[in-house]
């Protein structure tokens, strides 16, 4: 009994010290909440936004650079606490596996919608007038060919690990394209930039929110719209014998966290759950950082000042 009591006294002492130190509000625990940083600007922005809001609430925040998928090891063990962007289109499988362990918790959608699809630069419309329809794209497959794929067109797909079923899609829709996989998105966009500089034919995997569709003018190819049956049932869709005869799903982007944090920082987790934004907001900020060369911290700070009423609503804790 005594030890528990003394713990309380100690905590009270600590809290009073905190109060005398100044602006900090009382929070459940002063241990830093570790947010993970990945390697694309949009994620750095959403994470810093969340981090700054939590700091305003009085929490200690630490940022930890971690790999998008490898981080689950850390989230499950409590070495890391919150990941701000888990995309349905690329991270769903890893996230579900992790949630099944019971050590991580789904913290809800961010409000952004992930779009991933075949994409071409706008100047290709002159060379291939029927775009963005996928049939028109297929009719001018040869324009998109490279020596090693000719006469078939060359489509630069995402890293193999991202999935996406492009090989299956080409097969099911009977397209005259060959899928080449880039190893990383850095390589993917390096090739796009190179083609764009030369105004050369190019079609590849582009996603948003990302700086590429802001920097380069272009459009997504329009495939037959996605449906769950199209992926799961060969009979659905244009090709009666094969699945994947449609476009890609447009998916959520979710936040995910270490389970133990729920009890440790309940109000913080509540605020993270409340976090809501959209593609337009983040896309514009990504453009300001990557294209106008502004500092990421400054861009986030400007947003915080201009949108205080928005993020104040996240911080209310019941």
């Amino acid at each position: 009994m005594l030890s528990i009591k003394s713990k309380h006294i100690f905590a009270a002492l600590l809290a009073s010290c905190m109060l005398t130190q100044g602006a900090q509000a009382a929070v459940e625990s002063n241990d830093p909440i570790k947010l993970t940083l990945h390697d694309w600007t949009g994620q750095l922005i959403t994470t810093t936004m969340m981090g700054r809001v939590l700091e305003e609430m009085g929490y200690n925040i630490e940022y930890q650079v971690a790999d998008y998928i490898a981080q689950f090891a850390g989230l499950e063990s409590g070495d890391l606490h919150v990941a701000m962007e888990m995309w349905e289109t690329t991270g769903k499988q890893a996230m579900e596996t992790s949630l099944a362990t019971g050590n991580t918790v789904d913290l809800g959608e961010t409000g952004m919608k992930a779009v991933e699809e075949w994409w071409y630069p706008l100047y290709m419309k002159e060379k291939c007038p029927g775009l963005p329809d996928w049939k028109a794209l297929n009719d001018c497959a040869e324009i998109f060919s490279a020596p090693e794929t000719a006469p078939k067109g060359r489509y630069l797909g995402a890293p193999v690990t991202w999935g996406g079923f492009d090989d299956e899609r080409v097969e099911a829709l009977g397209m005259d394209f060959e899928v080449v996989h880039a190893g990383t998105d850095a390589a993917l966009f390096a090739e796009l930039e190179s083609a764009y500089q030369r105004k050369a034919a190019w079609v590849g995997w582009v996603y948003t929110p990302h700086w590429a569709p802001i920097k380069f003018e272009g459009e997504f190819v329009e495939f037959p719209p996605y449906s769950d049956e199209c992926y799961s049932d060969p009979k659905a869709g244009l090709n009666a014998n094969e699945a994947y005869d449609c476009g890609k799903p447009r998916g959520w982007i979710k936040k995910v966290g270490w389970k133990g944090g729920e009890e440790k920082w309940p109000c913080a987790y509540q605020a993270i759950r409340n976090f809501k934004t959209d593609n337009q907001t983040i896309g514009t900020m990504v453009g300001e950082v990557d294209l106008d060369g502004k500092k990421m911290e400054d861009v986030v700070e400007t947003w915080l000042k201009a949108n205080e009423s928005t993020w104040k609503t996240w911080t209310q804790c019941s």
């Binding site: 900090q24 002063n30 830093p32 390697d39 694309w40 600007t41 200690n60 630490e62 930890q64 650079v65 971690a66 790999d67 998008y68 998928i69 490898a70 981080q71 689950f72 090891a73 850390g74 063990s77 070495d79 890391l80 890893a94 490279a146 020596p147 090693e148 630069l156 890293p159 193999v160 690990t161 080449v180 996989h181 880039a182 190893g183 990383t184 998105d185 850095a186 390589a187 993917l188 966009f189 390096a190 090739e191 930039e193 190179s194 500089q197 030369r198 050369a200 700086w211 990557d290």
Partner: protein, 647 residues
Amino acid sequence: MLGILLYYFSAQLPEQFAWLIKYPKSWTIPLKYWISDFMKWLIQDLDFGLFTFKEFTRSIAWLLEWPLRFASALLSEGFTFSSDPKAPVLVQRLPWVAVTAIFTLIAYRVNGWKLAILVGSCFLYLAIFGQWESAMVTLSSIVIAVPFGVFIGMLFGILGFRHKNFEMAMMPVLDLMQTVPVFAYLVPVLFLFGFGPVAAMIATMIYATPPMVRLTLLALKQVPAELVEYGRMAGCTNKQLLWKVQIPSARAGLMVGVNQVIMLSLNMVIIASMIGAGGLGYDVLASLRRLAIGAGLEAGVAITLLAIALDRLSQAFVQRDTTSFHPEDVHFLIRHRYLVTAIAGLLIVWIAGHFLPAVNHYPEAMQLTTGEFWSDLVKWLNINYFDQFEAVKTFLLLNFMIPIKRFLLAVPWVVIVAMVALLGYQLGGWRLSVLTALLSLFIAVTGQWQKAMVTIYLCGVSVLFATGIGVPLGMWAALNKKVYRVVKVIIDTLQTLPSFVYLIPVVMLFRVGDFAAMLAIIVYSLAPAVRYTIHGITQVPEDLVEASKAIGCTKLQILRRVQIPIALPEIMLGVNQTIMMALSMLVITALVGTRDLGQEVYIALTKADTGRGIVAGLAVAFIAIIADRLIGAWAKRKKQQLGMEHV
């Protein structure tokens, strides 16, 4: 020839012998699942009673965290003396002026003003090009990882030197540590040691320590027997003999080991940044992801310069004359006047750093960048010369690379295993034969044959080009002092500049695919071919060259008839190293979309799949070991034939 014959023969084989050509899937041993399950058991279930295995590894990580925190506070963050991360910094970190001055002074003391200027300008570059903050994060993990690596390396080296059995058991482990790609063991390291700088440091140490063990062993073995005898006659105990006689006289060799640890640790900077080390490696990755080629290059060059500064410093320590005369009767302050002045100056600057921001942080307004220039250069090349590049690429791909790939994929696996075993027998007897056969069987049995063949194709083609360029370049440099100086700078840069820096421009000019990967591998693996050739040619005995001159040989004849044949074993060791480098580059080229074992390791990393990564990593290591043993046996025979095994 044998292969081709068997290939045509095999086309006629009836169905029931199809297993001879393609290894059947159902025969695959699920080793990767066993490893994953073992890992799971290790992390979740292994319990020593008082504590679990995971708690044990975590406490190691906790211990290592303290020195790391101290270094990072000293060099980059400042001291807060509090566990609360928001507490104000009470004692500032060492200002950039002070760090630059300290390293310059050390360089001056060790080797005079020339080295001082080199080291000083390396650090100035970091400040002027805005790399200081990240560079100090990187440096703080290097200054902790290197001493630990050196200590552990020496410990195992000494143990191996004392106990023959221990050495025998250790050697294969060292081989694996050096050849299994780092990506393969990142995931288990993360599981066991947590996420962040400490895990990154441990992975760095696994990669960088083996040369220290090897060089310690070698250096101790090379201590002259007379010296040891003399020590015994003077009545030294074993312990005294080791610390007072053997280690001091092996110092030069040990310092080479230290140098290797430093260089390899810096090689790991990029990979370490992927698991939370931050610093320069992260800057390189992040800038290249937004295609800021210039910014990536500047951060990459910062890594190179840090490596060069530390390398030259450690080499100067090796060459320094330690027997210099210290007059004992001079007053302490005068005898150590440099040290005293330095410490006084350091304290003044450090204190000043608390009040003058410009002393503490290099002013942002005075920073330079060349970022735009590099992007523009690549753009210009891209717009004006893409068609020419494309023509060369298409020619090589269609006439050279693709046929080799098709051939390797078509040859039955049994034939290749048999050929490797046969080669092993011819070069090194039945022991080598069994070893190489077993190692290549492992690849088939774990179901990775196809990917292994793509690996061999990509590495083989790259090594052909790398030696084709590197060996002649090395010969030229060996015979011409001026060329030598230029070549040395180039290969030093190529070896320390993170390959990611040139990988992205290569993709922009040559597009994603095997060709871009091949170019990157060639660039990375060129250095050893050049280095060993230079070494081989220059160590040809002078009297032999003189004698050939006397009998009237022309320069070309001397090169062809005397120098090349004698240097050949050495050159082949260079080729061997080129193969090792090419294999270690595989995982990086997976980032531009190859479909080989490197990709397999990379996928395993992104899926956090321990077993899959380790099995593919072992396959890469076994290819390396097979190549290494075969070439080593060949070089040894050749040397014996030339009667120069003692050279």
